[in-house]
């Protein structure tokens, strides 16, 4: 993880990163604030190119749409590029339940899928696996024993997955950006699996969160270097594909039909709130790499699709406080995430605001009342002194003059059952100061 941070620093050395971040923020804020216009333009242009565009309100609608396409084409095997949103909508599960074989083709995702786990990081899905783990997982596929050399293991996956690409009935990928001005879908990959999935199978389906748009390619001159520099420290990813629809007349290769599924799934509800900027995220994973909590507990501990600070913000907003209301507490509020974010999302402020909202919705009446009394008792110096004196008086039957409070009546007994409470001193600091 430290290597990634060093690479990030090296990638931007000598450039005005702050100016880049401010430009990135302005581009994302502008686009998301006018998302309705840009979505409409994107859909019009994409359809002119022969791309089928479907707007899905919910995860279920998105999954249904994909299933209908696959059923109509009689697809039994799907190759998939890395797509966080497909995890979010639970696509694999539904397709597999329908008897369709779904193969993840990003090396990290493939490892995780074979091990029957879920990704632990946005950009490095198998970062929790050692090379020995991978060798073991791959060996189980063919029965031959593989060495744990990463180059050998990679070559093995190339061989196995090439076959899948050539026989798949459909390829499904995510989308890093959708370009409103020309209706193309931008896919950023290093391995080439995104190109494979969008080129070899007769059908290509791109799943895109509705906020992923940019007005034109011009803005990508800043957003792409911000994305790859923050994510992996690269100047540019190996492949940046601009997918502009099916094979045209006379072309030698390419898909016969292509689809873009624009997914809401709770996002529009965020638009009118103070958390709108969470939708500015370009999924670089930098906030995960710097987060002291993420670095200790790993991505799986967050329970949702998106881990780390951005996940602790997004998951409660998308999945609801009942399911994910604890996540905003999975932070030390150190603000490292806010400092590193390439589009300047105030992540730690949002975590704090979410804690407030969760507490408002969740805290039992008794707890709310006691905190209100607590705050009333401390609000002015006079009151503080009064209540300190009162508490000192009231504690005598419990401390019996000792320095620790070992047993107390309910509800304090819940505390003292496990640990002692230091007794209040006989004089406050200010009293001692005055009598010095």
């Amino acid at each position: 993880m430290d290597t990634v941070l060093e690479r990030r620093a090296a990638a931007f050395e000598g450039y005005d990163l702050e100016a880049m971040r401010r430009a990135g923020e302005a581009i994302r804020a502008h686009t998301v604030a006018r998302l309705d216009e840009y979505l409409e333009r994107f859909a019009d242009r994409a359809e002119e190119r022969g791309i089928n565009v479907f707007f899905a309100d919910t995860a279920a609608e998105a999954v249904d749409y994909v299933r209908r396409i696959l059923d109509r084409r009689g697809v039994r095997l799907v190759t998939k590029g890395k797509s966080m949103i497909s995890e979010e909508i639970g696509l694999n599960h539904t397709l597999e339940a329908a008897g369709i074989e779904v193969v993840e083709t990003d090396l990290g995702e493939y490892i995780v899928q074979l091990a029957r786990e879920t990704p632990s990081h946005i950009l490095m899905p198998a970062m929790h696996k050692s090379r020995a783990d991978v060798a073991e997982t791959f060996s189980a596929v063919t029965g031959e024993t593989l060495s744990d050399d990463p180059a050998m293991l990679t070559a093995f996956s190339r061989r196995i997955l090439r076959d899948k690409f050539l026989t798949a009935g459909a390829g499904i990928t995510g989308a890093n950006f959708g370009v409103a001005d020309n209706g193309t879908v931008v896919l950023v990959t290093n391995e080439g699996n995104g190109r494979m999935c969008s080129t070899l199978p007769p059908v290509h389906i791109a799943l895109m969160g509705m906020e992923r748009l940019v007005p034109s390619t011009r803005e990508l001159a800043v957003l792409l270097p911000l994305l790859t520099g923050s994510g992996t420290g690269q100047r540019v990813s190996t492949y940046v594909s601009f997918l502009g629809g099916p094979r045209r007349m006379g072309e030698l290769d390419g898909p016969e039909e292509t689809h873009v599924v624009v997914v809401d799934n709770g996002r529009s509800a965020i638009l009118s709130t103070e958390f709108r900027s969470a939708l500015h995220c370009i999924r670089c994973g930098a906030c995960q790499n710097v987060c002291p909590v993420f670095r200790q507990v790993g991505g799986h501990a967050y329970g949702g699709t998106y881990g780390g600070p951005i996940g602790a913000v997004l998951t409660p907003l998308l999945a609801g406080f009942a399911r994910a209301g604890d996540l905003p507490h999975a932070s030390s509020l150190c603000a490292a995430c806010t400092e590193v974010c390439p589009v300047r999302i105030p992540l730690h402020d949002q975590l704090l605001a979410l804690r407030r909202d969760v507490a408002k919705e969740r805290a039992p009446r008794g707890e709310r009342l006691s905190f209100r009394l607590w705050s009333a008792a401390w609000r002015t110096p006079r009151r503080f002194l009064l209540f300190a004196r009162l508490a000192r008086l009231l504690q005598t039957p419990l401390t019996l003059g000792g320095r620790r409070l070992r047993r107390a009546p309910f509800p304090l007994s819940r505390w003292t059952r496990g640990r002692d409470l230091p007794a209040l001193a006989s004089r406050t600091f200010r009293e001692r100061w005055r009598r010095r």
Binding site: I27, M124, M196, T199, A221, V222, F242
Partner: protein, 235 residues
């Protein structure tokens, strides 16, 4: 229907939200041009990400193609139809290296050929000096698979097609995307670091990328500014 409902909801949620303007000027990034000679910078950047590159003269192209094919130990090749003015010399070079060019009629046969070939030879629409990237487009006179399936990708590009950085590339790209059904920016060989963050070259795409930059300062200086040959009309 679902589209109107969807957009209406978004519109309603955004009612009263002010959009900050897009920045008038974009700041320089690591992918911006820096004033250095384009061919030199292109070569340096491509080498730094594991690619191979040579600057050759037009008469020297056949020899360079032959040398590259020998180095790739290629016995078979597919040649994309987007080599334009370079196609004759490329064919000559491949012949000299004893490489069999796989001919294919129709999409299925073409796909087979690309999958079998040791070497894929393509042209490119543009090259980016700041990142060592080339732009490959898909259209009636080009191919998506020739630069993707073979383990070795050889691209031929005139130096007049080089642009300094992303800003210039992304100003030109909308024009390319009107003429072509898709385009891809290729920067060096396919790579991964998914296993213990060890960098490995050659995952799904080519393991080796070799770019021959054809010096167009003398012979081809008149061509400057013209749309690339590959952008011909569809049949």
């Amino acid at each position: 229907m679902e589209r109107e409902r969807f957009l209406a909801r978004v519109r309603q949620r955004l009612a009263g939200v002010d959009a900050p303007p897009l920045p008038d000027e974009l700041p320089a990034t690591p992918a911006s041009g820096d004033g250095r000679p384009l061919a030199e910078r292109f070569a340096e950047e491509l080498r730094s990400i594991g690619g191979m590159v040579e600057l050759v003269s037009l008469p020297g192209l056949a020899g360079a193609v032959a040398a590259a094919a020998r180095e790739a130990e290629a016995r078979t090749a597919v040649v994309a139809p987007d080599l334009g003015p370079f196609s004759g010399r490329v064919a000559q070079g491949l012949r000299r290296a004893g490489v069999e060019v796989l001919e294919a009629e129709g999409t299925a046969a073409w796909r087979d050929a690309c999958e079998r070939a040791d070497l894929g030879v393509t042209g490119a629409l543009a090259g980016v000096g700041s990142s060592g990237s080339i732009v490959a487009a898909a259209g009636p006179s080009s191919s998506r698979l020739a630069s993707l399936l073979p383990p070795f990708h050889l691209a031929v590009l005139g130096t007049d097609r080089l642009v300094p950085g992303f800003e210039e590339l992304f100003a030109d790209l909308p024009r390319y995307l009107m003429d072509f059904s898709s385009a891809v920016l290729i920067s060096g060989p396919s790579r991964t670091a998914d296993i213990e963050m060890v960098l490995v070259q050659g995952v799904h795409g080519p393991r080796h990328v070799h770019v021959l930059l054809v010096d167009s300062t003398r012979a081809g200086s008149k061509k400057k500014g013209r749309p690339p040959k590959a952008a011909g009309p569809s049949p």
